[in-house]
Every structure is written in C-alpha cells, then in structure tokens.
C-alpha cells in the first residue's frame, strides 16, 4: 500500500480539521479525496505532503514512516490549486527545478525537461515565462514540474479549481489518460462529485474531518454508506422514510403498482430533456421526481395533476437520518 494514514488528528485553534482519520491509498491508482469545502480534505493532503504537521497520528509513504520527515525529503510531487509557478523562471527552468536541486547532469536534465514538456504539450512554450501562459497551460507546467522528480506519490490540491468549466473538463480527461500512461500513485482533492466519479479509481469521501466512506465510484453511487454520501454524490429526495434519487421514483397517473402513494403535482419545471416535479403526497412528504420530457407529455402532466409514486425496482435507497432534512 502506497500511503497509509493512521489516527490522524489536526486542530486549527478550536476548529477540528481532522478527527481520527485512517486511510489507506493503494499503489498506482488515481484516488480522489472528495468532500465539501472546509471538510478537511486539503489538510489531509497537505499533511501527507509534509506541508502541514498533524497533531497526532502517523503517515507512511511506500513503507517509510514519513511522519517526521520534512516535505523536501518525502519525494512527493505536489500540485497547487493556484499553480504556484516560479514566476521569475521560464517554463523549462520551472520543470528543471527539482532536477537541478538534485544535481543531475546538465544533459540529462535537458533531455528529461524536453520529454516532460512534450508529455504536457508545452514543448513550444519552453522559453516563455509563466505569465505568458493561460491557466490551463500553467497547471500542466506545474504537473510536469512535479513529475520531473519521479515522485513516489503525486498529490494534487483542487488542481482544476481555478480553471473555467471547459478547460477544467478537458484537463480532467487528460489527467485520467496521463495517469493511465504514467501510473504514478495519484491523490487529488476535489469538491466536485462529477469530477471524482469520472476520473478516480477510488474515492475517499471526507466530511467534517472524518472519512465517511471509501470505495470505487460505483460502490459509492450504488451503495452509499449513509445519507451524507448519498446526498453528496447526487440529488436526493425523501419518500416514505427513505432517501433515494429523484429519477429512481416511478410515476403513474393511476395506482397500477402495489404500494404506490398518491400525491398531487405541486410544481413542474422543464429543463431540456428532463422534467422536474415537486409532488406533495397524501402522507405529507414533499417529493422531488424527475421524468423524461416524453414521459411527462405521454401522461399529460401539469401542475395539480394527481399521480401515484413508487420507488423503482433496484433503486438505491438509504434510511433517512433524523438529522438530515
């Protein structure tokens, strides 16, 4: 196992950032730390990198106890949300930095830098200053710089958070394929569940300083451990004492299915191909339901229509927590 974190606690003043966190991150995989802002995921990543010190607990990287190692000796690559480019150095010099620190021979450095710039598609920009690059290009340069030292783990802190939606999506796909080529153990922090589901092999959901669940994207989506994980990974509605996805509710205009509950359409909003309904049931629930445009038209749904709701067969269902609304 590449990274092992045990019994990690971290407080900033009174604020508990991490509360007894235990995580194992497998070698060679792309793992996402997913959770809401302020949940502690960045703190965890920075403690793994050695940029922050934990109050208690241990960090082991590739079998070596790194708890008391300074960041410079951990051999991790770190990529920052705001790139942290060396503004006074050219793109090539930025990428060469770690190798120069390690006093590698000049021609080897030059060769490696060219290779990496090609990998991140920045070969023709090698003599530019970072200020002459776009955000996406800067982040690719930062990635090449981190990869140059052949780190045992690559850590990315919201790497695409500062980019606009289109570039963000492009870089996300590209990171996935880069990882398939390079196979370095990679951990990235994100608060975007779509990003995590799409890119990661494994996802660690972190909330309020605790690990809520660890699993593959399918496991998390299909078998969420609790209401929080379920609601964080997609839309959730509450119906008959359970939480489930709005598209996992069958809707009919007559009570055809056993156990269906009667209700009235309170609100109807059409967004592109889907129609979102708010249904008030006779049991007093306010249920969100999503149906396709065609389905809604076939049933001639409008506000005030009477409908019958049933949880779909095979729907992901989690008992509703008292605390969650």
């Amino acid at each position: 196992m590449s990274i092992e974190v045990t019994g990690l606690n971290k407080k900033f003043g009174d604020f508990v950032a991490l509360d007894d966190v235990n995580v194992t991150i497998p070698t060679g995989q792309l793992t996402a730390l997913l959770g809401p802002s302020g949940g502690g995921k960045s703190t965890l990543l920075r403690i793994i990198a050695g940029l922050e010190k934990s109050d208690t607990g241990t960090v082991t990287i590739e079998g070596v106890d790194a708890t008391d190692l300074p960041a410079q000796k951990r051999n991790v690559g770190f990529v920052f949300q705001h790139y942290a480019v060396f503004k006074h150095m050219t793109v090539a010099k930025n990428v060469a930095f770690g190798l120069e620190i390690r006093k590698r021979p000049k021609d080897e450095i030059e060769h490696r830098v060219q290779e990496l710039l090609k990998l991140v598609h920045l070969s023709q920009f090698s003599h530019r200053l970072p200020s002459q690059l776009s955000g996406g290009q800067r982040q690719r340069m930062a990635l090449a710089r981190a990869l140059a030292v052949e780190p045992s783990v690559l850590l990315l802190d919201e790497p695409f958070g500062a980019l606009d939606a289109k570039v963000r999506k492009e870089l996300r796909d590209w990171l996935r394929r880069l990882h398939d080529d390079v196979h370095v153990t990679t951990v990235f922090v994100t608060h975007d569940q779509e990003e995590a589901l799409e890119v990661a092999d494994e996802i660690v959901v972190i909330n309020e300083g605790r690990v809520e669940q660890v699993g593959t994207p399918d496991q998390l989506y299909d078998e969420p451990a609790n209401d929080f994980v379920m609601s964080f990974l997609g839309e959730v509605t509450h119906f008959g004492g359970v939480s489930l996805r709005p598209h996992d509710i069958e809707l009919e205009t007559s009570p055809k299915l056993a156990g269906s509950v009667e209700g009235t359409v309170h609100r109807l909003v059409r967004i592109g191909f889907e129609v979102r309904l708010t249904v008030l049931t006779v049991d007093g629930d306010e249920v969100a339901v999503v149906v396709t445009r065609a389905h809604a038209r076939a049933l001639q749904l409008r506000e005030g229509s009477t409908v019958w709701l049933t949880p779909a067969a095979g729907a992901t269902v989690v008992p509703r927590m008292a605390a969650a609304v």
């Binding site: 960041a71 410079q72 000796k73 770190f78 942290a84 930095f97 920045l122 200020s131 140059a148 492009e170």
Partner: protein, 290 residues
Amino acid sequence: MADTLVHAVPDPAPVEEHRRAPRVRRTPTTYVLRFVATAYLFLLVAWPVSLVVVNTFDDGFGSIGSLLADPDMVVALQLSAYVAVWSVVINTLFGVGISLLLVRYEFPGKRLLNALLDIPLSVSPIVVGLALVLVYGGRNGWFGPTLAGWGFQVIFSTPGIIMATTFVALPLMIREIVPVLEEVGIEQEQAAESLGASAAQRFWRITLPSIKWGIVYGVVLTLARSLGEFGAVKVVSGNVLGQTRTATLAVEEKYLNFDPQGAYATAFLLAMVSVACIVVVAIIRPKNHA
C-alpha cells in the same frame, strides 16, 4: 492521448493584456485639479530645487571645481558616501531578515515590533542623535565608557555616524519589502520545498528573486535618505573638519559662513546622486513591474 488537447495547445497565450488608454472625461474639474496639483508641486519642489541648480551654475562649473579642489570637502563627500553605503548594506541585511520575520512568522510581540519599526520615521532625527549619545557617549553614556575602555569610540566618530544614519533609514527597506513578500505568498516556496529544496536553496532561488525589485527600491530610498541625513548626524558626529564632517554638515557650515555658492554646489551634488538613482531604476526596471 493528445486528441482533446490538440486544439488546446496552439491557443494564443494571453500575453500581457493590451493597455488601452483609459477614456477619461475631461471636465472643468479635471483642469482645475490638474492646475492645483501642478502649481503645488512647482511652488514646493520644482522651483526651489531648480534655483539650487541655477545658483550652482551661476559662474559655470567654477563653484563645483573649487569645491572638489578643497581636500576637506573631498573627505566630507567621501565620508557621506562611505556612511551611506554602510547604512544601505546594514539596512538591506536586517531589512530582508525582519521583513521575513514579520510576514512569515507569528510570534508574541509582533505588533509591538511592527510599531517600533515606524519610530525612526516619526521621531525627529535630532532625538535619534541625542538618544544614541545617551547610550554610547564616550564619557557619560550608558554603554559608551565600556566601549571606550576597549578602545572603541562610537560618538564623535564614524561608527556613530553610521549608526545614526542606519537608524533613521531603517524602516524604508522594510516598508518596501513587506508588501512584496505578502503579495508573493508562500506557495512558491512550498512548491520548491516539495521538490526537494532546502531552506537556503528556497531563499536564494525563490524568495530572493521574487522580492528583488522591492529590495532595489529599498536600496534607492535608503541610499537617498542616508546621503541626505543631517539632524541625527549633526548630534553624533562632532563635526571635526576633515574627519567627521559629512557633506550635509558641510552644506550648513558653508551657508552659515557666508559661502552660499559652496553650499549650493554641495547641495547640488547630493541631490544629483539621489536623482541619478531614481532615474537608473526607472530605466532598468522591467515594464511588467509597473
């Protein structure tokens, strides 16, 4: 793996945004404000300073020539330069150190230190001179007799002049570097750290180049201030002709001794050095460091 990025790579990098001339609406107020500012600067700065230049060259280069022919005057100019250079060196070293301390570390008494650093700007230089005499005065000073016992004279000697000058110019370097350090932030250093750079490597390769221009401005301001220091130096120097008389003290002396020509010429030389510094920096500084 290149397909999605193929179109992304050649995209024109957003090179420094073109600075469009701001469209200013010219109203009567614009002209009134402009006139007031110009008149203010002219009456307070430009006119008096230009008169110094005019008076210096009343009889061509004669007054400057006779000034440089006076060996005591040459010593005074050399002493001023010597003191200014030491003040710049000391203030640069301590300035960088204290700025790093103020920006990067939290410690008890930080606010107090911050306030203390402004004292040299807010207190009259005469007070600075007197305070130094109280501590280091050779006969009655708090610490002076001990130093004198070791054969080291501070007051009425060059070390005292350097100390007084350094004291007075102390905040200039720090006030230049601190905002630059704050703006640069700590992420570049953390990136360097994770790439294996030691504390010394991070300082020389990352921190120092990032605050380079702050230091350059700090040096210019410190140099100009140190060359021009008068009050504090007057108290601690003793004004011994050919030994502890600096150029600014010479200006006053010449003026009081009914040699205004010599006073103007010396003042002109002092002013020229400061102006030259500012001009040189304006020329060499990169355009994007506006």
